[in-house]
């Protein structure tokens, strides 16, 4: 084997390890944010006992989940029951490989990164369906089937909303897409309809309020997670928040210039400084959208399952198709 291949493998292993390690603080930060932000919006104080201002509450939650007994229901299907949390978590973690954090800070800069991302993030539905079926619980079963229906339906408008941007930029690679945005302006100016559809569909794809009918605590107790406890439940929980982070990150990469600063200063920062500068802006913008998702959770009630499906097929899919059609015509006519 030549050294280049070995170096490539080493780089990939390092990057994936770093990404897997990144998921843990990300989940903790977002859970903490959700605890505190929703508390403030509810006119509560929120957790304020663990650490300064309750800063370590979510960390304690994590340790609590680790320490809890891991139960498997008597009649559950053992193999699939234990595999399901892993499937959901890995779907989220694997999609992070193409996350464009900063110039030079992408684990794998595929030329088809966007296709890879949508292919992998959709895999979590398998885990949820398996969890719902293997639990031997009717609530889990209903939740699992809902997840299949919801996520498969919303994948279509989600993907179609991005095709417009892809047609405009003429690339499927995240870094090239961001490079295009550096020259032509951020894509939300070009694709406002695509942005709206992408945002709504992404909330449905990662089961956030108002589309969280998979868990639907007031109807289905906890959906597919009802029978899970201990760290298995923790993995579902982690995956959910990591998915929120990923979706926000992909959203800003597609429509808000990714790692680009909102003004053209400094025009060219190269090397390590450029990477740090990019990471700063990436995380700043991502957490703005994470905040918006938390804000929505505090504000909105849940959509009913038939309304949700009706919206996907009757409203969002046609709009996404029209958007794509118009974009394609514009690209051809004006030769962009």
């Amino acid at each position: 084997m030549d050294t280049e291949l070995l170096l490539g493998i080493g780089r990939f292993l390092l990057a994936t390890t770093l990404l897997l390690l990144l998921t843990v603080p990300t989940a903790f930060v977002i859970i903490q944010m959700e605890l505190k932000v929703i508390a403030r919006m509810n006119l509560r104080l929120g957790p304020n006992r663990v650490g300064p201002g309750g800063l370590f509450q979510s960390t304690i939650h994590g340790f609590k989940v680790l320490a809890k007994e891991d139960t498997i229901p008597d009649q559950a299907d053992n193999t699939t029951f234990t595999l399901a949390p892993w499937m959901v978590y890995m779907a989220a973690a694997m999609s992070m490989i193409v996350m464009p954090f900063a110039p030079g800070a992408i684990a794998a800069d595929f030329s088809i990164g966007i296709v890879y991302f949508f292919a992998v993030i959709g895999l979590s539905v398998v885990g949820l369906l398996v969890a719902g079926w293997a639990s031997y619980n009717k609530y889990s079963l209903l939740g699992g089937l809902r997840s299949a229906a919801q996520m498969v339906s919303y994948e279509i408008p989600l993907t179609l909303s991005v095709v417009g941007a892809v047609v405009l930029a003429g690339t499927l690679s995240f870094s090239e897409l961001i490079g295009w945005q550096r020259e032509h302006g951020w894509l939300f100016i070009w694709q406002p309809v695509g942005l709206v559809i992408f945002y709504i569909a992404s909330l449905a794809e990662i089961n956030r309020t108002p589309f969280d009918m998979i868990e639907a605590d007031s109807e289905l107790v906890a959906g597919p997670f009802t029978e899970y406890s201990g760290m298995r439940f923790g993995f579902f929980f982690f995956a959910e928040y990591v998915a929120l982070f990923i979706m926000s990150g992909i959203l800003i990469s597609l429509f808000f210039g990714g790692w680009l600063a909102p003004w053209p200063f400094p025009a060219q920062l190269d090397g390590f400084a450029g990477t740090l500068w990019g990471i700063l802006w990436f995380f700043l913008k991502t957490y703005i959208f994470v905040f918006v998702a938390v804000w929505l959770r505090a504000t909105l009630p849940r959509v009913r399952v038939d309304q949700l499906m009706g919206m996907a097929w009757k409203v969002m899919l046609p709009i996404a198709l029209v958007n794509l059609f118009i974009t394609a015509i514009v690209v051809v006519v004006f030769d962009l």
């Binding site: 929703i38 919006m41 509810n42 006119l43 509560r44 008597d74 009649q75 031997y136 009717k138 609530y139 209903l142 809902r146 309020t209 108002p210 969280d212 009918m213 639907a216 605590d217 007031s218 109807e219 289905l220 107790v221 959770r297 505090a298 504000t299 909105l300 009630p301 849940r302 959509v303 009913r304 399952v305 038939d306 309304q307």
Partner: protein, 428 residues
């Protein structure tokens, strides 16, 4: 030669229980319990079926499954069944085919307790029934017993009664807004509602000394006169209560998701509502203008002016709007009561332990959940011979099996919350 006897292994009590249960079941001619049927997914549809022949026609109807149907057991431990309500839901996919409310998980035998208590101590037993309308719970027995004794409460006592009762109505209706939203997944309104309720509870604890089970009403009056703390808190509360309610309304009323999930949902026609005995705001939301305070004025309601509001559609949204309208009417009533409250004693002269003359008395009040009434029979002894309470939330739950078929699982909780049942009152 000594033989060392191995000690007998101590049997697991759970195994003993299983063996005992199996023996008893075989003796009674019943099937073995579900836990012993293991294996593949066979028997998935059996869980939830009672393992005895159906006792009534209705039970046979609910528990007989057609192809493609399954039973889902919601409650008594479920995040949103308002306490310990249990619903057996027959589903076809996610569509409800039939629903069977199973009651009694919070039964405390309050009627029987009251029949073994003297007339004055009955007031303490009725408190924990409808725990969101405790003052109303006490109001009806107080009126009934006053009829038995042939005494009348002083005018000032009647005004204080009406005041605390209307305060409690505002708190209870405010909570309903929050719970309805919570059952649809909205997290915030319930906390805003509890802020409002907490202020009312503080008010009532200032006048009665307790926060939840007030024990404030007495036969022939009330326990305490209004005091400075109560009045100053009342002024503060009155200055911002409408603002607080509106803040909650902004989150809920015009929310497109909320409207989409409530308008046209769980429509109860006026005719059906009357036939089922539904009363109170739920009845008025179906367009029937019946309010005990107007139809059979008690206490001082004849002297106060307030509108009898009704809605037309009778759906979940109408029941929600009806609550908000009634909150505003109650605040209007509170203003009038404060303006007109006369001076005087708050307790009529009643001898210590009295035995009322034999007879019967009936008293009905308009509680936040509807017509709450008490029927007491005296045989001349120190305790009531019979003491019967009609709890409105128990009656409103009758409407669920009528309304739910055809809706989705997600709507069960919304429709149930719109009737605002309190399980303490349902199970008594």
């Amino acid at each position: 030669m000594t033989t060392t006897e191995r000690p007998q292994p101590i049997p697991d009590p759970i195994d003993l229980d299983r063996a005992e249960e199996a023996r008893l079941r075989t003796a009674a001619g019943l099937s073995l319990s579900v836990t012993q049927r293991r294996g593949e997914y066979a028997g998935f549809e059996d869980i939830g079926l009672p393992d005895r022949p159906p006792q009534t026609e209705r039970e046979a109807e609910v528990y007989t499954l057609d192809e493609g149907e399954m039973l889902l057991n919601m409650g008594p431990q479920h995040p949103s069944t308002h306490g310990v309500m249990r619903l057996v839901v027959k589903l076809r996919g996610e569509v409800i085919v039939d629903i069977d409310p199973v009651l009694g998980y919070l039964h405390r035998g309050i009627e029987k307790l009251c029949e073994n208590a003297t007339y004055t101590t009955v007031m303490t037993y009725v408190d924990p029934m409808d725990y969101l309308a405790v003052m109303h719970n006490e109001h009806a027995p107080a009126m009934a017993f006053e009829k038995l004794y042939g005494i009348e409460a002083p005018k000032r006592a009647e005004y204080i009664r009406a005041l605390v009762v209307e305060l409690e109505r505002v708190a209870s209706h405010g909570l309903m807004m929050g719970f309805l939203s919570l059952d649809m997944g909205g997290l915030t309104p319930i906390l805003y509602a509890f802020i409002n309720r907490d202020e009312v509870v503080d008010l009532l604890s200032a006048i009665s000394g307790q926060r939840m089970l007030f024990n404030f009403f007495r036969i022939g009056g009330v326990n305490w006169d209004v005091n400075d703390e109560f009045l100053s808190r009342l002024g503060t509360w009155r200055s911002h209560v409408l603002k607080n309610i509106e803040m909650n309304e902004h989150l809920i009323t015009d929310n497109e998701i909320f409207r989409g999930r409530t308008i046209g949902m769980g429509v109860l026609s006026g005719r059906d509502a009357i036939a089922l005995g539904v009363s109170g705001p739920n009845l008025r939301a179906s367009g029937v203008a019946f309010d005990v305070r107007k139809a059979h004025p008690y206490s001082i309601y004849r002297e106060l002016e307030f509108d009898l509001i009704t809605q037309e559609s009778g759906d979940v949204y109408a029941r929600y709007l009806q609550r908000i309208a009634e909150i505003k009417q109650s605040i209007h009533l509170i203003d009038q009561i404060i303006d007109r409250m006369p001076h005087g004693p708050v307790q009529a002269q009643v001898p210590g332990i009295v035995r009322p003359r034999p007879g019967r008395a009936y008293a009905a009040v308009e509680s936040p959940r509807g017509l709450y009434s008490v029927y007491a029979i005296s045989d001349g002894g120190p305790t009531p011979y019979r003491f019967r309470m009609r709890d409105p939330s128990f009656i409103s739950l009758q409407a669920l099996p009528k309304l739910m078929p055809g809706h989705l699982v997600a709507d069960t909780m919304a429709v149930m919350a719109s009737f605002d049942p309190v399980m303490g009152g349902v199970d008594k």
